[in-house]
Symmetry: C2
Subunit: 358 residues, 2 copies
């Protein structure tokens, strides 16, 4: 089947670009002796997790037990739940998951570790913990200050084996010119507290796509968890993590109306792209056929291209491709991802873990 024949909106990936992205990250992590544990929130597709593992990834990262379960059923045997999993039903699923794969769970409080240990009972040693520290993300994680050692000892009392440390810092200013060095100082303080507390540090896990290729500048880091890197998107480019030609994922849409002067309406809106805002500027994506045309606004099923200042002549029925602002929330809205090479559909993947909210 040709790309042109797909019903719109259609989520598709340029396989050449995606494979180059996968290869580049695999080469980088191998060259620097870093383990790679990609976050599968981006693609939610077991077959893509397998491509990552085949290129040397140690395991995968997930935020949800149900999402991780989909990966385990597809044979992924090493899972980090980078989230403080909380709730009776979740802990039941977690116990079940621990019989299918090696499972670690993030925690950032004694309260959480104790509650989870209580629910898991004697099976609590089937999983391990990574303790999250906050190195400037300001979301979750313990501060790397004088209280960290005490918190670590509290978490250790829960009796779930501790495997190491994780942090999430999405953005670092000027990573090459001092940004990573400053992050490294904060990390060193946290590592020191772990050593004082006598807590194992088998894994020191950090990183996201925008800073991935600066990870070797962080002494002590053993693993990174980028997600977006296989697809990339407008926000990865805006944050300096990729170039436009590295953006592999697009949504093919059709122009359905040009009746309002200066506007071409496409059949994708916030239920196709998500309403993720653009980091640098406004609008809902980048039009591949005419990057100068602003993807100005969206409603649920309408995308409004502002063609008022462009020479482009779009007619109802025309097909266009849009690079989303944020691929992770876009992919989550679709059932299928089409793998395309040179205009031909080579593969169709079921987005098996889409919409898994528990």
């Amino acid at each position: 089947m040709r790309l042109d024949e797909l019903d719109t909106p259609a989520l598709w990936v340029d396989l050449d670009v995606m494979e180059a992205n996968l290869d580049r990250m695999a080469r980088y992590t191998a060259a620097h002796g870093l383990a790679l544990r990609p976050h599968i929130k981006t693609h939610k597709i077991p077959e893509l997790a397998r491509l990552q593992l085949a290129r040397g990834a140690r395991g995968v990262t997930s935020a949800k037990v149900t999402e991780a379960r989909v990966m385990a059923e597809a044979g992924v045997d090493d899972l980090l739940l980078a989230y403080p999993i909380w709730g009776e039903k979740k802990w039941e699923r977690l116990r079940d998951l621990s019989h299918r794969a090696k499972v670690s769970v993030a925690t950032d409080s004694e309260a959480h570790a104790l509650a989870m240990a209580g629910a898991l009972g004697p099976e609590k040693t089937r999983i391990s913990l990574v303790v999250e520290v906050d190195l400037g993300g300001g979301r979750t994680g313990l501060a790397p200050d004088g209280h960290l050692e005490k918190h670590l000892l509290g978490i250790a009392r829960a009796g779930i084996p501790i495997r190491g440390l994780m942090f999430y810092r999405f953005h670092v200013e000027n990573p090459a010119e001092g940004g990573m060095a400053r992050l490294g100082e904060a990390l060193a303080g946290a590592l020191e507290a772990f050593r004082r507390a006598g807590v194992p540090l088998e894994t020191v896990s950090g990183g996201s796509t925008p800073t991935a290729f600066f990870s070797h500048l962080l002494p002590g880091l053993t693993e990174i968890r980028p997600g977006t890197y296989l697809f990339n998107d407008c926000n990865t480019v805006d944050s300096g993590g990729a170039a436009w030609e590295d953006c592999a994922l697009r949504v093919r849409c059709r122009v359905v109306s040009t009746s309002v002067k200066g506007t071409a309406v496409i059949d994708g809106g916030s239920k196709t792209f998500s309403d993720a805002p653009r980091f640098a500027g406004a609008g809902f994506g980048r039009l591949m056929q005419a990057p100068e045309v602003p993807c100005a606004r969206m409603n649920e099923e309408h995308g409004l291209l502002d063609v008022s200042a462009s020479g482009i002549r779009l007619r109802p029925g025309d097909l266009v491709d849009v690079i989303p602002n944020h691929v992770c929330t876009t992919v989550n809205l679709h059932r299928e991802l089409f793998g395309v090479r040179h205009g031909l559909v080579e593969t169709v993947w079921n987005i098996a873990a889409r919409g898994k909210i528990h």
Copy 2:
């Protein structure tokens, strides 16, 4: 089952509030002799469409053929596709749908009407058209100017029976003090062009939730298509279409971390609420237990409550309820909606048309 026992995040609706919302709209439209054709994009649940029909709705509105199909399979027999449906596969599905229900489709161009008629072939008279005019929405629709009559004659040449006019105007400034009167003047101009062109006007369909209760101020209007009114949300309240006590839909979340000072993190982010922005102000919703606490920012699976200026003491494990900014994009992310009365789960609805993008 008690609401407290649901796994989080859980999408739930207060049935008393929802039923009052349904009753109010039914009473209003009946009192003013207006037909009600609710847009099912909001709930995507056949059982809720049936509740709307049981209260006198004439039929339903949908944007997607696949979404309409779900409704037709549940027995809904009168469907308006308020969207310029375009594409071979969609037209095939449309033909099939026309054997299951009475179907109208919006159009705003001769190009669209001709293309669709060509694809439907001899079956084109099984459906009907409503011609969309743009009365200030600036999205789709023909301008109500001197060219409208010519456009109408062009659309009529496609040979699909025309049933009337529709428009979509989400927001009207000061509806009671002149806003609706000005909209009425624009509508009158469009109606006049229809009469001059000799095009039938069986239906004159307009309206959305924010302006729904001002619809009687529009001479000539026969039908309204509100969607959000049964649930309401922050943006309905911000736009003056409802009060906080009319907001029936909430997401129950759990606090999973309070390790970062001034912050409580809940287990719902942009994959639970969508990233829909708030009309008036920032943030991702309204916390029912403490409306003064800003729902400050979101990542995909994290919602960050800013508790720095509040007396509220949230602990990991606590449950909270959040009214979303935009219910339509929120519901689309979930598989189930729990109907709750006085803290007890009375019903579980499958969101059968969620994620239908074609």
